[in-house]
Amino acid sequence: MLTINNLHVKLEEEDKQILKGVDLTVEAGKVHAIMGPNGSGKSTLSYVLSGRDGYEVTEGSAQLEGVDLLEMEPEERAAAGLFLAFQYPVEIPGVGNMTFLRTALNAQRKARGEEELSAADFLKQVRTKAKALKIDADMLKRPVNVGFSGGEKKRNEILQMAMLEPKMCILDETDSGLDVDAMKLVAEGVNALRDAGRGFLVITHYQRLLDHIKPDVVHIMADGRIVKTGGPELALEVENNGYADILAEVN
């Protein structure tokens, strides 16, 4: 599904290398987790994959189902099936959440040569999916993320993901700022989308999210590289001993 080879990334404006050769393959149907200390480059990886400005790829490649991601515009990557749940979801005053969702969904369908969803079908889908995430009608009407609590913003990200049905989902610290109940809702939302055709890359600082979203593979990222890869037990090791031991071991 997602294949990253020897990815090197520096900041466009500064001479600062952030990713220093990332290798990672996420297969369809699998959940991969990336853990790592703050500042190790996890968010940068997710931004580069989704096409944010400000980064320069100096070496390496990233492909989605064999297609070069790095040459595409962000909207093309989205239409190709890539989705990033932001660590810090963006507030957009003046744009209603519903309008936002519908515009995004129909833009993707159009880009793929599919018919637009009718207003009635759209409404039906949003209502069902919002209800599962305990997102009420008021939140759907309000401007995107404006005045939402931290937890509401994260649930809103998952709602977008559920509506857009991407093939490859990247979740960047979707658990941060969530209480246990909110985290369960988010995890349920993610688990409901797990199927054989879809890949997940779950970035998290803590192990606790992985109690609810069981990963197949766990990677540890440090200083712009994947330094260790293992099964779910690796997350537990981090939980119990912190990153220090692992980092000492690989250095």
Binding site: R52, P74, A107, L164
Partner: protein
């Protein structure tokens, strides 16, 4: 005090091309206005009040040429049930207009009231304009009162079932139109007034509005289309106790537009909201100049102005809230913002507060900025293409001003006009 020689010359040059209409009952008001104009002189580039907008092309004896635009899309408000009053190049067109009859309102042409000795409009024509020169002179309004060739007097005594729609068509490439309307809203009466159309190559319009206690006037205006047109407009509004005035203006295109709003809150608990949204591309200069005077207790005023500028367009905002001694419990709000879609465009703002009462809440803010890159990326990451995402954020930026329109269908009409403007640009 004698005018500077340059001003004197410019004033006389302009006056030599104009003559006072043969108007009976407004004759005295017109002569007084002419005297005011001679005293103030036409605006010049050195005048502080015209610092950001060059008045030159507004005071030449002949109007600069302006091509008329072949209407490709329906006119604004076409779908609205309304009483139409049509002016072509500033002249009333009875054929194109509806009969001037509607329950709750009396409408007459200014020239028709002139034969009557006693008429309410005599106490309004030129009166609010004359009050509006302190502390800053507005000579082009005095010019208007003196030389207006046409206009209507609207007397609102009830609650008419539909809006009164003033439609300004532009036919001749050299038309120089001066229109003057007066509106009196009686106690407890309520009306909606619409204005739209490119009007003329050069258009000077003045409207004097007197709203009695408990009266309401909603005003929605769309200045559109013909790119080379120029306009200077003044709206002088006086509000009585508990009365409401809400005005919104959309401006799309036009090489030069100056819209002045002069509002006096003279009765307690009155409410005045003036708002504007403009979108300008290239050779476009748009100036909103607002002066709101609080002269009573517990009044509320709001100014909300949003400008989208690209390809070297210029936006100007001069807005002042004056709170007079004794105008306690004043609630004044003012915001002016521009969205600059490139580095060539500019926004010049001069927000002012002058407060002589102690128990007031006044706030003002002015910002100028580019499109929010983070929001743009967020939208694109969800699959919305760059152009569509930019347009969506542009409309979102204008929303606070458009939201000032209370009538939902009128607001929708304005939004669709904005969408059309955006769609025509790549």
């Amino acid at each position: 005090m004698a005018l500077p020689a340059q001003k004197q010359t410019a004033t006389e040059a302009l006056l030599s091309s104009l003559h006072l209409p043969e108007a009976g009952c407004t004759r005295a008001a017109r002569e007084a206005a002419l005297a005011r104009l001679r005293e103030m002189g036409v605006p010049g580039r050195r005048d502080e009040y015209w610092k950001y907008t060059r008045p030159d092309s507004l005071i030449t004896p002949d109007a600069p040429r302006a091509a008329t635009f072949a209407a490709g899309e329906p006119m604004m408000f076409d779908a609205v049930d309304r009483l139409k009053i049509v002016f072509v190049d500033g002249v009333f067109d009875p054929e194109a207009s509806d009969p001037l009859e509607l329950e709750g309102v009396q409408i007459e042409r200014i020239e028709d009231i002139c034969c009557k000795d006693i008429h309410w409009a005599k106490d309004l024509y030129g009166v609010l304009e004359a009050r509006g020169h302190t502390p800053v002179p507005r000579p082009l309004a005095a010019l208007n009162t003196a030389f207006a060739a046409d206009g209507v007097a609207i007397h609102v005594t009830g609650t008419p079932s539909k809006p009164i729609s003033l439609i300004y068509q532009h036919a001749s490439e050299t038309s120089d139109a001066i229109l003057h309307h007066v509106i009196r809203v009686e106690s407890g009466a309520a009306v909606t007034v619409l204005e739209n159309g490119p009007a003329a190559s050069r258009f000077n319009k003045c409207m004097e509005i007197d709203i009695a206690d408990g009266g309401t006037l909603h005003h929605v205006r769309a200045q559109g289309r013909d790119h080379e047109r120029r306009a200077v407009t003044h709206m002088f509004t006086r509000l009585g106790e508990g009365s409401v005035y809400k005005s919104f203006t959309l401006t799309v295109n036009g090489v030069l537009t100056r819209n002045e709003q002069v509002v006096e809150l003279t009765g307690d608990d009155a409410v005045a909201h003036v708002a504007g949204a403009c979108v300008g591309d290239g050779d476009f200069h748009h100036d909103d100049t607002v002066f709101i005077t609080h002269d009573a207790v517990g009044c509320e005023s709001r100014q909300v102005f949003k400008k989208v500028l690209r390809n070297g367009a210029t936006g100007v905002f001069q807005g002042k809230i004056l709170v007079k001694p004794g105008a306690q419990k004043t609630d004044g709000y003012q915001i002016s913002q521009s969205l600059l879609l490139d580095d060539d465009s500019q926004f010049l703002a001069k927000p002012e507060l002058e407060i002589y009462a102690d128990d007031v809440a006044c706030s003002h803010g002015s910002t100028s900025g580019a499109i929010d890159e983070t929001a743009l990326f967020y939208l694109r990451s969800r699959g919305v293409p760059l152009k569509e995402a930019t347009d969506l954020l542009t409309l979102a930026f204008l929303a606070e001003a458009v939201d000032e329109i209370e009538d939902k269908s009128l607001a929708d009409d304005i939004v669709s006009r904005l969408e059309g403007w955006l769609a025509r640009r790549s």
